[in-house]
Structure formats: structure tokens, C-alpha cells
Amino acid sequence: MNTRVYKPLLFAACLAPVIWLVLRIAGVLQPGLGANPAEEIQDELGVWALRLLLATLCVTPAARLLKKPRLYRFRRMLGLYAFFYCMLHPLAYFLLDLQLDFAHLGEDLLARTFITVGMGAVLLLIPLAITSTRGWQRRLGRRWNRLHRLIYPAAVLACWHFYWQVKADTAEPLLYCAILALLLGIRFWWSPLRGRLFRGG
């Protein structure tokens, strides 16, 4: 596997949703953003944030099951892109929907549970993005691995946030919840925790 080829390819692929959105905003690509463009941008960014977060969580099981340790090389880029979308999505909300209304934002973050939960996910991801460099990895040693397990609760909060903002049709968020459950389930299956919880199992 040639990293020199695949890394730029993955980089471009992860950026594609943003470029796609920009072209739709500019009216170059169809479908346009429709009657509520602010919502469309914000929702699109939110869904990609979640997809990339789950894609990041796919790397370890995929590398293990396919016996392709080189896949780990793509994990940092996926994770940072997930973080990038996790920042863009609330930013779009704040700029386009709330139009910099700080009072409204404050109220939303504290009083609207589904938004509080989304913010929780972002807060958990911030230290992971900061410590994603090789330097931090070296400095933290084994603690780095433990710290980066924060992506699990972050992903749970993100799915919960998605599930909670829906009015009645929970099919799509439940699909993402199911994928997350699978990804976390595999890790549990592989972890020593399972042996300790179910003795002899």
C-alpha cells in the first residue's frame, strides 16, 4: 500500500463534502441548498462530522480483522477531519442560524439538552485534537492511548445528540447508533475487560 498515494487521496475525499457544499452555495452544483440554506449547510456538516467520527473508529477493527496494520497510518487524518467537521457544524449553527447571537447560544448550550450533549462531544474531542501530534504521542507514552479513549464517550454523545434533535423519525440516527454499538462492541469483545466481567468467557 503506497501511503504517498493514498494519504492525499484520503485527504481530498475528506474535504469533498466541504467543497461540494461550497459549490452548491455558489450555485455551481445541483441540487441547490433549497429554501432553508442555513439549515442545509449545518445539517450536512453535522452528518459528516458523525460519519468521520465513526470512520475513525473503524480503523482499528479494520486493521485487526484484515491484518493490515498499515491502515493505522490513516487514523490521525480521519480523526482530525472528524474534529474539523465537529467544529464547522456548530460554527455554521452559530454564524448562519443564530447570527452571532451570544445570548441565544448561551441559552441553547445550557438549556437545550440535545445541544448540551453535542457540546459535550466537542469538548471531549478538543484535547484529542491537540495531542494528536507525534510529539504529544511520544511525551504521553501509554497515557496517550488512555486519553484517546475519550473518542468513545464523544461518539456516544454525538449519536445521542443526533437522536435527540429528531422530531419523530428516529430511523437515521438509530442506524448510526447501531454502527457505533457494533464498533464499540468489537472493542469490548477484544478487551481484557470482557474476561474479567464474564469469568472464563
Binding site: G27, G32, G34, A38, D97, Q99, K167, A171
Partner: protein, 322 residues
């Protein structure tokens, strides 16, 4: 099935058919000369799959706002109609197979005249009016929509409701073959809604058959829907097949689905938030850059129709009766 003809409906309280026809042709004649502005011209870019027919003899009714209406395209491509799917563009994309003609409506319950009526029979003798209303969705967005319809109260009184008629219950058609959203149980089908008799007979309340001077497109609730402009949009039940006058409060679909979030009244109220989001402001729908950077606007009590309806709720705790 007995379908009653317009002649079966008591016309004692309404303009006789001939004067009605006369008035209609006079107005049509004036409109042709450009002397009176009746309904706005039908948009010439009808992109709705089903061809919408121009509605004749529409006069401009009272209570219209002079805020600029949303485009026909915005109105017909962005709305909630879960029978066709839960996305905002689903109604527009998935309603092509729906057949709004022929159509009959069952009128039943506490009234002297009941039965099954076709739309023409139901509305005959009541002049079509254009009403440009604000529409505030419970999801905190809004539009300005030029509806065409008749006051519901005018229609109801011809059925001579009895003294026990305290509420009006409405039901949407159930046709999973034509309405793909009904194949999944996102809500309990068929969709049901209701109003108190006072609300139903308030002059603002409209039984709409058109928008922008043409018949309602399928995605907007063809052929017949309710418009209650001081309430959240979900009260405006679409594709109505049953109107029942009754003594007890009717169940309503969103209240059944989430009683803590949606009450029977569902009056637009900036002071009572939805449990999951604020109702204090709203986003006025609009496509393109202008829509993208449009400022949120403050939501008005009763959606700005307080002068007409506030007295209906005097003494009622609107925080509990949301």
C-alpha cells in the same frame, strides 16, 4: 356510497347560487379589465409534476399581511408532510403518485346535516378568497403564503351543528400505496387534528384549496387542507377526508406522538419554548444568498393574529395549555 350534491346542502344562510355566480362573473370580468386585483397571477413556472389548475373567481379576502410572500418554489419544495416522508423536500419529491381527484369528504357527528360530499359540493356557494398569511412552523421557521380558500366557519354552519358540537375533528386520507411515508409508522396513521368550535369558526380559519391562485399541489395537502394561522403549522391538517363535529376533545397526532412537546392548542407563543428548542425567534424561509444571511426575526404572540384570537384564550394558562 352516497355522495351528496350541492343541492342537498341547506343554502338558507348563504348567498343564492345565482347571485353567487353573478358576483363571480362580475369579479372575473373586472379582473380581466385589470380594474380589480383579485388573486395574484399563477406562477408560470409550475414545476410540480401534476398540472395545477387556475382557480376562477378568487377575491382578495381580509386579514392578509402585506409582507412579501415566499416564492411558489419555496412553498412547494420545503414543508412537512410526513405522509410523503420526513425530509423537507420529501413531500415535493414523493407525492407524484397521489390522486387528489375525485375526492369526497365525510361530514359527521353533531350536526343536522351529515353525509359524504365532493369538494365542489362542500364549498359550493362560498366564494373563494385569497388570504396571505404568516405560517409559523413549530420547528422555528416561517413563510408568507398566499392561500386560496373559504372560511371554515362558513362551510360548517351549513351543516347546522347542534348545541353539542364543541369540537371539530379532522382526518387525513390513509393511502399507503400513494403516500410512501405512511408505510412506516413514524406517526400513528391516519393523521388527525382538531379545533374547538370557537377556533374553527373564527374568521381567520381557512379551508384552503389553493395557493398562488392555483389548486393545491399534492405536497401542500391537495385537494383540501386546514389553515389556522395563529397556531403552529402542524395543526393545518392536509388532504382532509373527514370532518366530525363532536362534544369531546379530539385526539391530535403530534400530541399522541409526544404529549410533553405538543399540546392540543399549539398556539404560536414566543414565551413558551419547545422542550428542545426556543420559540422566541424564527427563520423566515428564503433560498439563495439572501435566505442564507437573512436575520432571524422575533416570533409574535399568536403569530401576530392576537387581535383576532387572543380573546379565545382569556383566562387560560397558556404555559400549561401549550
Amino acid at each position: 356510497m352516497l355522495i351528496r350534491k350541492p343541492a342537498d346542502i341547506p343554502t338558507s344562510e348563504i348567498t343564492s347560487e345565482s347571485t353567487y355566480l353573478n358576483r363571480r362573473s362580475v369579479i372575473a370580468g373586472l379582473a380581466a379589465t385589470g380594474l380589480v386585483g383579485t388573486s395574484r397571477a399563477a406562477p408560470d413556472h409550475l414545476e410540480t409534476g401534476t398540472a395545477q389548475k387556475e382557480l376562477p373567481g378568487v377575491t382578495s379576502g381580509p386579514f392578509s399581511t402585506d409582507e412579501p410572500p415566499n416564492s411558489y418554489e419555496d412553498i412547494t419544495t420545503y414543508n412537512n408532510y410526513y405522509e410523503f416522508g420526513t425530509g423537507k423536500d420529501d413531500p415535493h419529491r414523493n407525492s407524484g403518485a397521489f390522486r387528489p381527484e375525485p375526492w369526497t369528504v365525510r361530514v359527521e357527528g353533531e350536526a343536522e346535516v351529515t353525509g359524504e360530499f365532493d369538494v365542489e359540493g362542500l364549498l359550493s356557494g362560498v366564494g373563494l378568497e385569497e388570504r396571505v398569511y404568516r405560517m409559523r412552523c413549530v420547528e422555528a421557521w416561517s413563510m408568507i403564503i398566499p392561500w386560496v380558500g373559504v372560511p371554515l366557519g362558513e362551510v360548517l354552519k351549513r351543516f347546522r351543528p347542534t348545541s353539542r358540537a364543541k369540537y371539530v375533528a379532522f382526518q387525513t386520507v390513509f393511502r399507503p400505496d400513494e403516500m410512501p411515508g405512511q408505510r412506516r409508522r413514524v406517526l400513528r396513521w391516519p393523521y388527525v387534528e382538531g379545533l374547538t368550535m370557537e377556533e374553527a369558526t373564527n374568521p381567520l380559519t381557512l379551508l384552503a384549496v389553493g395557493v398562488y391562485g392555483v389548486t393545491l399541489p399534492n405536497q401542500n395537502g391537495a385537494p383540501l387542507r386546514l389553515i389556522v394561522p395563529w397556531k403552529y403549522g402542524f395543526k393545518g391538517i392536509k388532504s382532509i377526508v373527514s370532518i366530525r363535529l363532536q362534544e369531546s376533545p379530539p385526539s391530535t397526532s403530534w400530541n399522541i406522538a409526544a404529549p410533553r412537546e405538543y399540546g392540543f392548542y399549539a398556539n404560536v407563543n414566543p414565551e413558551v419554548d419547545h422542550p428542545r428548542w426556543s420559540q422566541a425567534t424564527e427563520r423566515r424561509i428564503g433560498s439563495g444568498f439572501s435566505g442564507l444571511f437573512a436575520r432571524r426575526i422575533p416570533t409574535q404572540m399568536f403569530n401576530g393574529y392576537g387581535e383576532q384570537v387572543a380573546q379565545l384564550y382569556s383566562g387560560l394558562d397558556l404555559r400549561r395549555n401549550y
